[in-house]
């Protein structure tokens, strides 16, 4: 049974999607999605445990052995991402029930959960597969369902945001497709482990180089690295907030995982970082990203928009970590993938709670919210501190490692800029906290007096995730250890 778990990881949610369509009842389709997702989460936990104990798992889909068949390949790195994706998805799905009930018409709920299941399937598939073309297919599965999910937003601007994301996302995916095509032309294989072996031997290095360029660009678009981020703020702002929490926690993170996979496992560290591309383009883009986007976030008056820009900034940290191409830099990047995924999901869930009760998230009008929604605000504050990187939160663990890594490499300027952008994070998060906690309501109207906390079914998932992130903040070595192991794998290439 346990041998089939890699296939099960994808199948459960994939099968759940059509079942949801058939059920058509809002509540039961949610239950179906929830059950499938929980199961997927348990499967991913088992896989992680197994990988940490026994090392890499290889699974030949349909019994066709690699390299001719499609192979699922699981090491510490993607096992961790699997847990992250399915876990956040499960928690947010639990939370989504009430949140979505309010913002999406009931007759569309089953479609919503169907799209959600497809999206999870796609994301898990990207992570688990060891076949380059399969990555593209799963990427499109997740992307198409994501566009759909975003277009469920209440505001009509969700539609245009979704459309723009669609065009840009398709172009990105097409770039990946071109890249894979050239790789295939140069090596004659699509299996990642096989590619890693054959790329150095390939006769047409120019084709490999073109493939490398297209792949990089495609993935950068999907992971919203500055300046290719422009689709993200609108999409995050206008999507249903549960979707935003889910996307912020998982989607860009999975793309970053793909980036890692291609850079380190397929092309190899020496190849990837031998190119001008990374030092010349990627690192400056990442650094400019986290400085500029933090700056932009300060001026935003819509809480979701502020967090969206902050997300772009955080992606900048992660990519900067990758660009260092050292053991510790990579570890920092991977840890931040996990940590930021949790923190951002928490923040957006808290925003969703506010949206649920207050009806808007216009920051200056959230004065004295602490009195009215104490639990939500406390969760927001805790996660906000995590975003800043206050000690004993997850943000601190990853920023600390990142700074250490850049100092180790002697890149002082990067460390200084990370600190600078942390100061900006203090400003933009602090501003919100200040308004929530200290600013008195100008007029205590009937709707602003008295407590109106979000429903428990939203608070519990929120606090589960806050609790998990707090745990990993205090016990930072747990994530660091897994990430360090993953970094070692990546730097050593696939075995």
């Amino acid at each position: 049974m346990i041998d089939q778990f890699p296939a099960l990881q994808i199948m459960v949610t994939l099968v759940a999607a059509p079942i949801c369509v058939m059920i058509r009842n809002p509540r039961w389709s949610w239950v179906c999605a929830m059950v499938a997702n929980t199961f997927a989460f348990l499967v991913s936990l088992v896989l992680l445990d197994k990988v940490l104990d026994d090392g890499v798992i290889r699974y030949a889909v349909g019994g066709w052995a690699a390299p001719s068949g499609i192979e699922y390949y699981i090491d510490a790195m993607n096992a961790a991402v699997l847990v992250l994706v399915s876990g956040i998805s499960a928690v947010v799905l639990l939370y989504a029930y009430r949140s979505v009930a309010k913002s999406v018409p009931a007759e569309k709920h089953y479609l919503f959960y169907t799209a959600w299941m497809m999206c999870v399937t796609g994301l898990l598939g990207i992570v688990i597969t060891g076949d380059a073309f399969n990555v593209f297919v799963f990427l499109e599965i997740s992307s198409l369902s994501m566009y759909t999910l975003i277009s469920f937003g209440q505001d009509r601007r969700a539609l245009t945001a979704s459309f723009r994301y669609l065009v840009l996302g398709s172009v990105g995916a097409s770039f990946i497709l071109i890249g894979i095509g050239f790789l295939y032309a140069a090596t004659g294989t699509l299996n990642m482990s096989d590619l890693a072996v054959r790329i150095p031997e390939s006769e047409s290095q120019r084709a490999v180089l073109v493939a490398f360029s297209f792949l990089t660009m495609g993935v950068l678009i999907k992971s919203a690295v500055f300046p290719l981020h422009a689709w993200l703020p609108n999409a995050y702002t206008h999507a249903p907030v549960a979707v935003t929490a889910f996307l912020a926690g998982t989607a860009t993170k999975v793309s970053l995982y793909v980036l890692l996979r291609f850079f380190f496992s397929v092309f190899g560290k020496d190849y990837s970082f031998g190119q001008h591309l990374l030092n010349g383009v990627l690192l400056p883009a990442a650094v400019a990203g986290f400085v500029l986007m933090s700056l932009v976030a300060i001026f935003q008056n819509d809480l979701r928009r502020m967090l969206a820009y902050s997300s772009v900034a955080q992606v900048g940290y992660i990519v900067a970590g990758f660009s260092l191409a050292t053991q510790s830099g990579l570890t920092a990047g991977i840890v931040h993938v996990v940590n930021h995924g949790m923190v951002k999901a928490c923040l957006f869930m808290a925003v969703g709670c506010i949206l649920y009760r207050v009806g808007h998230v216009h920051t200056p009008s959230l004065d004295n919210l602490l009195k009215r929604m104490p639990f939500t605000c406390v969760a927001f504050i805790i996660s906000g501190l995590g975003l800043i990187g206050v000690p004993l939160t997850v943000g601190f663990v990853s920023k600390f490692t990142l700074i250490q890594a850049s100092l180790e490499k002697g890149w002082w300027a990067i460390a200084a800029l990370v600190l600078l952008s942390s100061l900006m994070a203090i400003v933009y998060v602090g501003r919100v906290i200040e308004i929530m906690v200290f600013r008195r309501s100008r007029e205590t109207g009937p709707e602003s007096s008295g407590m109106s906390e979000a429903p428990l079914s939203m608070l519990i998932p929120l606090y589960v995730l806050v609790g998990v992130s707090l745990y990993f903040g205090i016990n930072g070595s747990a994530t660091l250890e897994v990430a360090g192991q993953a970094a070692t794998y990546l730097l050593g290439g696939l075995q």
């Binding site: 723009r164 180089l209 660009m217 000690p391 600190l419 906690v437």
Partner: protein, 563 residues
Amino acid sequence: MMNLMAPPFLYLIAALICPFLPSRWRALLLLGIPVFALMVMLAYPAGEHVVWSVVGFDLTFMRVDKLSTIFGIIFSIAALLSGLYAWHVRDTVQQVATLAYAGAAIGGVFAGDLISLFLWWEGTAVASVFLIWARRTPAATATGMRYLLIQVLSGVLLLAGLLVHYHDTGSIAFEHLGLVSTGTFLIFLSFGIKCAFPLLHNWLADAYPAATITGTVVLSAFTTKMAVYALARGYAGTEVLIYIGAVMALFPIILAVVEDDLQRVLAYSLNSQLGFMVVGVGIGSDMSISGSAAHAFCSVLYQGLLFMSVGAVVYRTGTSRASRLGGLYRTMPVTMLCCLVGAASISAVPLFSGFVSKSLILDASGYNGNYLVWLALLAASVGTVVHTSIKVPFTLFFSHDSGKRPAEAPVHMRLAMIIAAFLCVIIGVFPGLLYSLLPFSVDYHPYTFDHVLVQFQLLLFAALAFVVLKKIGLYPRTVASTMLDVDVIYRKWIPARLPLVARRVADLNASARQSALGLLGNGYGVIERLTRPGAPLARGWSVASMMFVVIVLMCAVLVLNLL
């Protein structure tokens, strides 16, 4: 589990449960925890305890020796007294912040390594800013933000310094560092900000008057003394500190003399007192370090006492402006007497606490052979008389009658002040009690005839000068005004010139466009123009512009790669 019983954690746990208690229990908690934590603290034997391994580092949370213990004791006393003084406060935010702040400060002095020191360092910054914000006025919010940024900057410098230091030496132990490398220099700078070195000092006079009445009392005790401790631990005997300290003791004086806000006057005098301690640390002999510790101990008490008495006046009259007060002795005699005790202590009148601690530092600097510094400290002692000992009680309680007849301070405030005053006198009369706590054993007798004589000469002639100047009308009357300090640079001058700079940049930009032509299109500009809402960076892009960026970048990548 027993590790959680370490005093700093006790405070933090108390701060965590505090919001969930009924209001009177919260106030009692503020009294009980300091007592309990003090007992726990004294029960720890010397050595390193509570070592936790986090992220591969061994963090020592309780390094107990005589230097840390004396600061721990005075911080506990300060927490207790301010808890009593704040008995009337029912604001949960302030109570939690007070507990967390005291806990972080105590954690700071017991931290055995730089990383845990950094944690507490930032902890004091974050916790204390709530005491300012709790005033809940727009100005307090702005002031708090300035304060927080400076404090966090100090923390960031500490973090950067410790990383570099760790990189250099492979050690995170918080022992003697010395000014030897970039890392230790950064750490020094970080300590310097919290210790309010000259030119880095303005947060102190800016923020303390902006806190709540009780918040000011709490603020006065911890942050700066923790910095003095950190300097004594890490930079004892660093010569440059002697000069920094001498300047620091002198220059707040002239600002304080004409300052109208009495809480700010006290903040300046606090800054000047810190100068004495910094000199003591800089000299680095056993006697001078002990002197610094002793002076820190006494200064927490008398400075707290002075802040408490001014705070009591604010509590009853709503203002701390000298120009609006005067003649309050008629109805607030207890507050007046306590204030006088504080004034006598700070100006080192024999039989009061300042006398037995300040003379340690003065004598140490005299023996050290640095006569100019010794003279500077002597001058600063006179300065203390000018701006605090005479000015504060005189303008508050005597001087011209403002017509205000406020009631006496509430009983819990009076009690807190009387206890503090009592401690000041006890230490002054029985200096042996204090000397037994010092990090190095000192054989020092403050009460020699010579010493008492010169002290009275110094003080009484200063008083005579006051009388004479008053008579000939030279002594400045305080009027409602703002005295410029160094912070005018970043609060006024730079903001005032920013538009100018921005215009320059815009001009440059325009001419660059003309010369380098429109080839580059709209793709560049000043950052602020890019980032405000609705600006190119901060609005949704159309598909066309997104695609444009994609293609330009793709071309760049391809060209770069094929090169």
